[in-house]
């Protein structure tokens, strides 16, 4: 470890970073809550009291009862079970969008930051253009062209979000690239890929983690908005946004159908945000900047 540190004067101190993160109680609680939400959603097939489409017509639109802890919807389907299954879909959808953003944004950010020049300029302007639009609006426009559906919607969101990662990675890369020890490695002919993997990626990782955590929250919200409008996840597949959309039509009789999916989304986004804030605080120098 010690000569490692000499070799990397700018090493990110990932360990110290994680240690500082662990002392942040709020972020830690958020991480636990998020883990619970994820585990409960993923084990829906095991835990859910009813199957996804099981209909109990006599008990439709019921409030909480011993049989249906959180009531039922207009077809008499069990809300608790549907929330659990919907969680799978929503989390997976948000994850997919962010994964696409990573696949697009990170390599391009590394490239632009490492190479600089015209390429950097062009990619930078491209990012500016994409960032001009509100994420949901641009994603909708892409969906208009490609057609609706979960995958299309998440690809669209991924594309729309990629410039944010691009910018973070680019500026982190640029600052490491200008360190003397990196310039020295380059001048003695170390291959670019090896420099990127060994010197640059470790430094990019921390700010990237912060951004990814915050982006998961944003993607979850955007996915819910699109599904609510019927442009993302479409029925009969349940998602939290979709449940909210259907629930809204019953708001006068069964407000619970609006309260519950909303609370599920809010708790999850809050957790992602708090984790992101915790990571950012653990990163220290990022916090005080205005942007």
């Amino acid at each position: 470890m010690s000569d490692h540190a000499i070799e990397h004067p700018q090493a990110p101190g990932l360990r110290r970073f994680l240690r500082r993160f662990r002392t942040n109680r709020t972020a830690l609680v958020a991480a636990v809550v998020l883990a619970l939400v994820t585990i409960i959603s993923l084990s829906a097939p095991l835990l859910a009291p009813y199957s996804l489409h099981e209909i109990d017509v006599p008990n439709r639109l019921s409030g909480p009862t011993p049989e249906h802890w959180l009531g039922t919807d207009s077809l008499g389907r069990d809300t608790l079970s549907r929330l659990m299954y919907a969680g799978q879909v929503s989390l997976a959808a948000a994850g997919l969008a962010v994964a696409i953003a990573i696949v697009l944004g990170v390599p391009l950010g590394l490239l632009a930051g490492y190479r600089g020049g015209v390429l950097d300029w062009l990619l930078g302007r491209g990012a500016d253009v994409l960032m001009t639009f509100p994420a949901v609006v641009l994603a909708m426009a892409i969906i208009a062209a490609t057609g609706p559906g979960l995958t299309n919607a998440m690809i669209a969101l991924g594309v729309v979000y990629s410039p944010r990662l691009f910018r973070v990675v680019r500026s982190a890369t640029l600052s490491v690239r200008q360190e003397t020890y990196v310039e020295a490695s380059i001048s003695i002919g170390t291959p670019a890929l090896s420099i990127i993997a060994r010197r640059i990626l470790p430094n990019v990782l921390s700010p990237l983690l912060v951004q990814i955590s915050l982006m998961l929250a944003a993607a979850l919200l955007a996915e819910a908005a699109l599904s609510l409008l019927g442009l993302g996840v479409v029925p009969p597949t349940p998602s939290w946004g979709g449940l909210l959309g259907v629930g809204f039509t019953e708001i006068r009789t069964t407000p619970l159908l609006v309260w519950l999916p909303g609370i599920a989304i809010a708790i999850t986004t809050l957790s992602f945000n708090l984790i992101g804030d915790g990571l950012r605080d653990a990163l220290g120098r990022e916090t005080r900047k205005g942007d």
């Binding site: 001009t132 609006v137 909708m140 208009a144 407000p255 909303g262």
Partner: protein, 314 residues
Amino acid sequence: MLLLIARRLLVTIPLLILVSFLIYSLIALVPGDPAVTLAGQDPTPEQIAAAREELGLTDPFIVQYWHWLVNAVQLDFGASLFNSEPVASAIAARLPATLSLTVLALLIAILLGVAAGTLAGLRPGSWIDRVATFSASVGVAVPYFWVGMILVLLFAIQTPLFPAIGYVPIGDGVLTWASHLILPATALAIAPAAVIARQTRAAVANVMTEDYVRTAEAKGLPRSRVVGKHALKNAALPVVTVFGIEANRLIGGTVVIEQLFAIPGVGQLAFTSVFSRDMPMVQGVLLTTAVLILLINLLVDVSYGYFNPRVRQL
């Protein structure tokens, strides 16, 4: 100051051209032959030909774009593929509702955010600060569309204070106009207010320790002027920066909110045209949104000059 505006315009216009190119390129994403895909369900050959004509697909791509751009500059965005309504007039008819909603929501966000952030920043660590900071965390995370639904439930259904849906032009009376917009605007304002509050808190807490605030106190100014004039004008810069970002997000939110509250605005038009894949309309809406957002960014940039005199001479 004028120079500053001119310089910003010089950056904005090329960006707008790039943006327009992106908007036009969306057509290229349409799978298969766009004319066939977009002409509607089971199109007749005439409908396909009409769609091809309307979309200008007969020329090479860059020529198509050029024609579209030249027309767009003259506020001619073509016509809807569905009802042949000119896109420009459809948007113009819906702009007032969206602008009303957006401006009101931004006002609420600023007032709420700056007030809460200032109170918190004046006494860091106090209970006001802790309540404000916690509320801000929640405010950023709650889905705005859900907040809208809950507001309808609480203030339109359970306690019928405001109408649940609909829009009344401001010409028909400011009060009815406002009463229709207050719930959707509040729903849109919560998250930006939270972000603005956080930023204001940090900036105010920072500025209050500056020497010039002590100077203002030493002059015997009342507290309200020390804070309202000397501290806030300096704290405004970082707040204005997030304001630009939040305005962008808020405008995105109008699409869902207009749908929920049945407000006949541009957002609703965006939704219906996306749903029916009416590309000319989608493009027109996108361009309108982009212009609106670039205008806001321009205002933000220019306001830097007001808040920070040093920027003016650059």
